[in-house]
């Protein structure tokens, strides 16, 4: 499979590239600058889609983990692990762009508000997922245990969110005004949607590369086995 040209993958990546160019154009040349926050607000168009995609990726980990436990087909485990890696990537982007925006707009690096904290906790959970995989060598066991962790991690998410949110009402932090989604319409909404599509394409494009890489690794392992036990 990996020796033939991956037309679908190439087209997907090309689409993602075009979409990215369109998005950047929209963000910098088309969309009007927000009145209260200024130019910096535009980080929002990359920050929010990254966050949505990070959550989507972890949802995928949840689904793929369940399917793996039911069907025991290695490919679902690969999908789960790859989604987790890319999810952590996007999650990191959120955690980097978030504070930059916060500092420039509100003057504080971090606010312990529900969403940002949830993202941090999510990051921790899925980094733990990756670390667990790293510390296990037996492929089947690793797949099974990761699947269990993937399921538990995702079930935990709503509870983390609600506990943090309620905790915030008991312990008010510096109030930052102007929620992101407040009154979004017209060109801003459109730009956001385009950026969201772009990041989605980017996600699946990277996922495909990652899957092919795994297929290569597996073939290599097979080959090594052949060499070691073929004589």
């Amino acid at each position: 499979m990996s020796t033939t040209r991956d037309t679908f993958g190439i087209v997907l990546t090309a689409l993602a590239l075009i979409a990215m160019m369109v998005s950047i154009y929209l963000v910098f040349m088309y969309v009007p600058t927000e009145v209260t926050m200024g130019e910096v607000q535009k980080i929002f168009y990359f920050h929010v889609p990254s966050a949505w995609l990070a959550f989507f990726a972890f949802f995928l980990v949840f689904v793929f983990s369940i399917i793996y436990l039911i069907r025991r087909d290695k490919r679902w485990d690969t999908l789960a692990a790859s989604s987790a890696e890319i999810g952590v990537l996007f999650c990191t982007l959120v955690l980097v762009t978030g504070p930059i925006w916060a500092k420039l707009v509100w003057g504080v690096w971090w606010t312990w508000d529900a969403r940002l904290t949830l993202t941090l906790v999510l990051w921790l959970i899925y980094v733990a997922y990756i670390m667990l995989r790293h510390y296990m060598s037996d492929p089947e066991r690793r797949a099974t245990f990761s699947a269990v962790l993937g399921i538990i991690g995702f079930i935990d998410v709503p509870m983390v969110y609600f506990s943090i949110r309620w905790w915030r009402t008991q312990h008010p932090q510096p109030v930052v005004s102007g929620g992101e989604g407040s009154g979004l319409e017209g060109p801003m909404l459109m730009t956001l949607m385009v950026c969201l599509s772009t990041f989605t394409l980017l996600f699946f494009s990277i996922l495909r590369y990652r899957l092919r890489l795994q297929a290569l690794r597996d073939e290599l392992d097979e080959l090594q086995d052949l060499v070691e036990h073929g004589e």
């Binding site: 436990l69 906790v121 921790l124 959970i125 733990a128 670390m131 667990l132 510390y135 296990m136 060598s137 066991r141 099974t144 245990f145 699947a147 269990v148 962790l149 399921i151 538990i152 991690g153 079930i155 935990d156 509870m159 983390v160 609600f162 506990s163 943090i164 309620w166 905790w167 008991q170």
Partner: protein, 221 residues
């Protein structure tokens, strides 16, 4: 299955009664955490009440991690894991037995630590004692539910003791927050704890169930 639970529970309790390994380690460690807090923060007595709940649960969480580690480390060292896997016993029963044992261990540590906490930080722990015990119980159940499962996972990895806190602490954030807030109420704070108790119970029910279901996958082949 009830026989399995009882057997495992009894076995773990007996081992612990004889060796007192995990208990002493986790108790001393929790105590150290409390003492160190005193040195790092210079608290007035009012602050102690507010922050006391937080210290307690940090101490409990770290001590709990230690005792959870041991719960399967012992099996691993004596090659008992295969014994457990081969035994024609309901996996869920093994899980519940171990989980219950861990809850009991955690609670013993907590109950002994409480008077010391009251002394060191000049906090009155007798304000709402029944609530306090209830919170300790719910918190320990929540912590041990996922902790027992993860401890079984950790035992099969290359870096057992290290991986358990990395896995456990992020997942137990909701239970820790809820336990701290509910404990603050139990220690006399003037807040409304209904949400927290609900969260504690919800977390416990969900995660005991999920861990119960998932445990079979960990103890396979």
């Amino acid at each position: 299955m009830w026989r399995a639970i009882a057997t495992i529970l009894w076995k773990d309790l007996k081992i612990e009664l004889q060796t007192k390994e995990a208990f002493s380690a986790s108790f001393v460690f929790s105590l150290m955490v409390l003492v160190i807090f005193n040195f790092t923060l210079d608290l007035t007595s009012e602050e102690s009440v507010k922050m006391g709940a937080g210290f307690l649960w940090i101490a409990f969480a770290f001590g709990g991690t230690l005792s959870l580690n041991r719960s399967f480390a012992l099996e691993r060292d004596e090659n008992c894991v295969q014994g457990l896997q081969l035994a024609p016993v309901d996996r869920g029963g093994i899980y519940l037995g171990k989980c219950l044992a861990n809850v009991i261990f955690m609670m013993i540590t907590q109950i002994i630590l409480l008077p010391l906490f009251a002394i060191f930080f000049n906090v009155d722990i007798s304000v709402r004692p029944h609530y306090l015990l209830f919170v300790l119980f719910l918190g320990s159940v929540g912590f041990s539910s996922v902790g027992t499962l993860f401890s079984a996972i950790a035992v099969h990895t290359r870096m057992r003791e290290v991986i358990l806190p990395i896995l456990l602490l992020p997942i137990t954030i909701p239970i820790l927050i809820a336990a701290v807030e509910a404990t603050a109420y139990a220690l006399g704070a003037d807040t409304d704890p209904t949400f927290w108790f609900r969260l504690l119970i919800t977390y416990d029910v969900i995660f005991v169930t999920v861990s119960f279901l998932m445990f079979g996958y960990i103890l396979q082949e």
